[in-house]
Amino acid sequence: MTRYDVVVVGGGPAGLAAALSARGEGARSVLVIERDTKLGGILNQCIHNGFGLITFNEELTGPEYAARFEDRVLAADIDLMLDTMVLDVSDDRIVTCVNAEDGLVRIQAGAVVLAMGCRERPRGALNIPGFRPAGIFTAGTAQRLVNIEGLIPGCEVVILGSGDIGLIMARRMTLEGAHVACVAELMPYSGGLKRNIVQCLDDFGIPLLLSHTVTRVEGERRVEAVWVAQVGDDGRPVPGTEVRYPCDTLLLSVGLLPENELSRQAGVELSSVTRGPVVNESLETSVAGIFACGNVLHVHDLVDYVSQEAGVAGGRAGAYADLIAAGKTPRQGHEIALRARDGVRYTVPQSIDPARMADRLVVRFRVGGVFENRYVSVYLDGERIQHRRKSILVPGEMEQVVLKRDELLAHADLSEVTVRLEED
């Protein structure tokens, strides 16, 4: 069986940054396995700009951002398997994959980094009644058809859901000559970034209908119309508010789901909130030696944060593999729970070993609703150590707090760190 210090599953932005970092942290052999024929993942079809403001201090397109990481990976003596599908990751880190050239391959990894990304929630999961004609696409599928295949799915478009890809595609379809009638969003707030609402909807005069949903699809063979209705506080359509929008295309941007089928097979514990693995400060999952980062861990808004996070996971995976290679047993530390409370939906990571953490640890989180003029507070048990005022917090924008190792170590008998929103 082939051996690698670190095997990275997925060659998108998370996988590439993780592989680089693993190599940088001393892993002698690193392999990236990617199911597509090229590296870069979903960035390849994101031809709009806005990537890299944090990482490179300039505005890049998706393919440009991916190319910078790809160039580094190619120069870093990292092995690649493209057009290769990982079928299984076992709890003792044997990775099984298949491709046309080698057939079925088994690889023993010192450490594994899960970087499979996410998928879009499809129409079927929403139970929108009506027919099942052609012309219903997730926003990402439409994006691929337009940007990679050069095909335009339709002329008259309604978009359900205001996730970032939906907003981007509202603009994209408009630029390609289609008419986007509206973006309907079930929630009373958008799921996307403020900057995308401004640049993709407002600038093009596309209405964003908050607290609205699609209640019916018309058209047996191709979409002919969709019905859009207001929803009440109970999330159900309000009778009498239905409006018929004649159209040929319905795009869906109603949520991204981390793709954790492999994680589940490996026995990795998943969070019911993030739908990604539960991880510690090293972004290590509940299965020793298996790490996770990027959208498979939790869905991000900005690729720059994915790269940062993946750098941590890759580095820790490299260090883990190094210990394994040296015949040492990685230390099982004392893990302190990291809790999300009072408006904070989740945190990543979900636990911390202060002895293992870096001097500064970025804890990322999302809030569960729209909050104005709240304080983001961090508690070490009962003691409040951070209290930072934010004028607005929305579910569509990921937030973060930074924990300092010194502070945690200074707190005797620490049992729990809590991140919460407070009114004063």
């Binding site: 199911r35 057009d83 599908m85 079928l87 099984t96 298949v98 491709n99 046309a100 050239e101 080698d102 057939g103 079925l104 998928r119 879009e120 499809p122 129409r123 079927g124 999961a125 139970n127 009644p129 009506g130 027919f131 099942r132 004609p133 052609a134 012309g135 696409f137 997730t138 990402g140 599928t141 691929r144 058809l145 990679i148 295949e149 050069g150 095909l151 335009i152 799915p153 339709g154 002329c155 390609e176 000559g177 289609a178 209640t215 699809v217 047996e220 063979r221 191709r222 040929d248 589940r264």
Partner: protein, 489 residues
């Protein structure tokens, strides 16, 4: 007088029509199947419970009862020979109220009278052993070990492929608009893709069978589309039950079933609603809500949050509630294969034999000296072992290129589906043959890739010509900014 173009024209390429075609292909006859859609298996045959009933349900002495039991007996070997997925998992009719318990025994007795083997009324402890996920209120059940599940798409496709390999012609995207018999006894079929003449007509037109029948007979037939709505749950929920679970019918109506599918999903449904529109395969908020509510009667904790899609199917119901099979007395040579509602899928091997037998007797058809054995090339990589998969890649490297990640469908399977007899031409046709697009992402990732493969493999077809399910269902309807149209409009 000129010889007719065909001996037999079969109208409708669902399971009944194709099972009949396959049986007729064993006889010395020129047979044509006319189908209004672009592929086989586009009506009731694709949208049903995908189960093989044991046969205790239908009224003793009815055609339904006889053909169900016979079909259920024939099904395992037929599927085995055609390479179609079939699993004899057994079914349970679950009773949840004390006063309904005697009903189980009645049901068992009816099954025995119908000729069903192995039926047993089981008490609560035995029921829990068989099926730990039954509702807390479950008191007992009728256990039918001969019931099974089948892949209806594969079955329909394989029956058609076998018939085609053995000489039966197929015409798709073709509508029959008129039917008449001349003085010489020759049938004239008016068809949108060219009229044909024949000596006998088989009416396997599903919910439209009454329209066809009433063109030729004064004895009217009336088919009501009885709509049933279903949820399909992800394979993560596929093991929620081990058997097909029915709730016992009560005075308040028939319950919904919960069953695994051969593809490893969980299927929940159907409700029953008589509608006016024979094309009304849309789902409704009310119908889906009803299915969701009834799903918990016999099974507990059905994980409805794992739903990946929902669909509607139309049962071809007639008031007498029995299959209508036979030569129409006032239309010699016109053979009905009509009102094939549940348990039509279970019965189809027997229906095919019966209808072909009637046609054989009318036309005095002799058996063919030799037939070409046929086995479809369906493969499930999801269920293959690592060694089996590796061996397939040895035979064709394209088995190593996974196109549909959710269901693990390789490029080789898609290419095979396109080049098989009556090969796939649309996304849905590929889906029925390979299970690509049927997974949790519901075709999000693989749609563009399958479009590419279809365009590459089919002569003269461009990516922008690819449809979801035939004319009028183009995936893209514009190819560039000046608005030049693809096939969709």
């Amino acid at each position: 007088m000129q010889d007719p173009d065909y001996d037999v024209v079969i109208v409708g390429a669902g399971v009944s029509g194709c099972a009949t075609a396959r049986e007729l292909s064993r006889l010395e006859a020129h047979v044509l199947v006319i189908e209004r859609e672009e592929d086989v298996c586009c009506g009731t045959s694709k949208a049903n419970s995908a189960i093989v009933h044991a046969g205790y349900d239908a009224r003793t002495g009815s055609l339904m009862a006889r053909l169900n039991v016979e079909g259920s007996r024939l099904m395992p070997s037929l599927c085995e020979s055609l390479g179609v997925d079939f699993m004899r998992i057994g079914s349970l009719v679950v009773c949840t109220s004390e006063d309904m318990l005697p009903g189980l025994e009645e049901l068992r007795q009816r099954g025995v009278d119908n000729g069903v083997e192995g039926l047993e009324v089981v008490d609560r402890p035995r029921l829990l052993e068989l099926e730990p996920s039954v509702a807390h209120a479950a008191l007992g059940a009728l256990w039918a070990p001969t019931a099974g599940i089948v892949n209806p798409f594969q079955l329909n496709v394989a029956l058609a492929e076998d018939a085609n390999v053995n000489g039966v012609s197929f015409r798709f995207n073709s509508r029959v608009s008129g039917l008449s018999r001349d003085d010489g006894g020759c049938w004239h079929v008016s068809c949108s893709t060219g009229d044909v003449t024949c000596r006998a007509v088989v009416n396997a037109a599903g919910v439209h069978a009454d329209e066809l029948h009433n063109l030729v007979s004064a004895d009217r037939l009336a088919i009501t589309p009885r709509r049933g709505q279903y949820y399909v749950l992800d394979t993560t929920a596929g093991n929620h039950v081990r058997h097909t679970i029915f709730s016992q019918p009560t005075a308040l109506g028939k319950g919904v079933l919960v069953t695994p599918t051969t593809a490893g999903n969980l299927l929940v449904g159907p409700n029953a609603e008589d509608i006016a529109d024979k094309e009304g395969t849309d789902t409704t908020a009310e119908g889906l809500a009803e299915v969701a509510e009834k799903s918990s009667v016999a099974v507990r904790d059905v994980p409805l949050r794992e739903v990946i899609t929902s669909f509607s199917g139309l049962r071809a119901h007639q008031p007498g509630h029995d299959f209508v099979i036979g030569e129409v007395p006032d239309a010699p040579g016109f053979v009905d294969c009509a009102a094939i509602e549940s348990p039509g899928l279970s019965a189809c091997p027997a229906i095919g034999r019966m209808v072909a037998g009637i046609v054989r007797d009318i036309l005095s058809l002799a058996p063919k000296p030799a037939i070409t054995p046929w086995r479809s090339s369906f493969v499930s990589l999801e269920r293959a072992t690592a060694e089996e998969w590796a061996a397939l890649v040895e035979t064709d490297p394209a088995y190593g290129r996974v196109i549909c990640r959710c269901r693990r469908v390789s490029e080789a399977q898609i290419v095979n589906a396109i080049h098989a007899p009556l090969g796939a031409r649309s996304l849905d046709a590929v889906k029925r043959r390979t299970e690509a697009c049927m997974g949790r992402c519901q075709a999000g990732f693989c749609t563009p890739k399958i479009m590419e493969i279809l365009a590459r493999e089919i002569e003269g077809v461009d990516m922008s010509d690819i449809t979801k399910a035939g004319p009028g269902s183009g995936i893209v309807i514009r190819t560039d900014r000046d608005g030049s149209a693809g096939d969709g409009r």
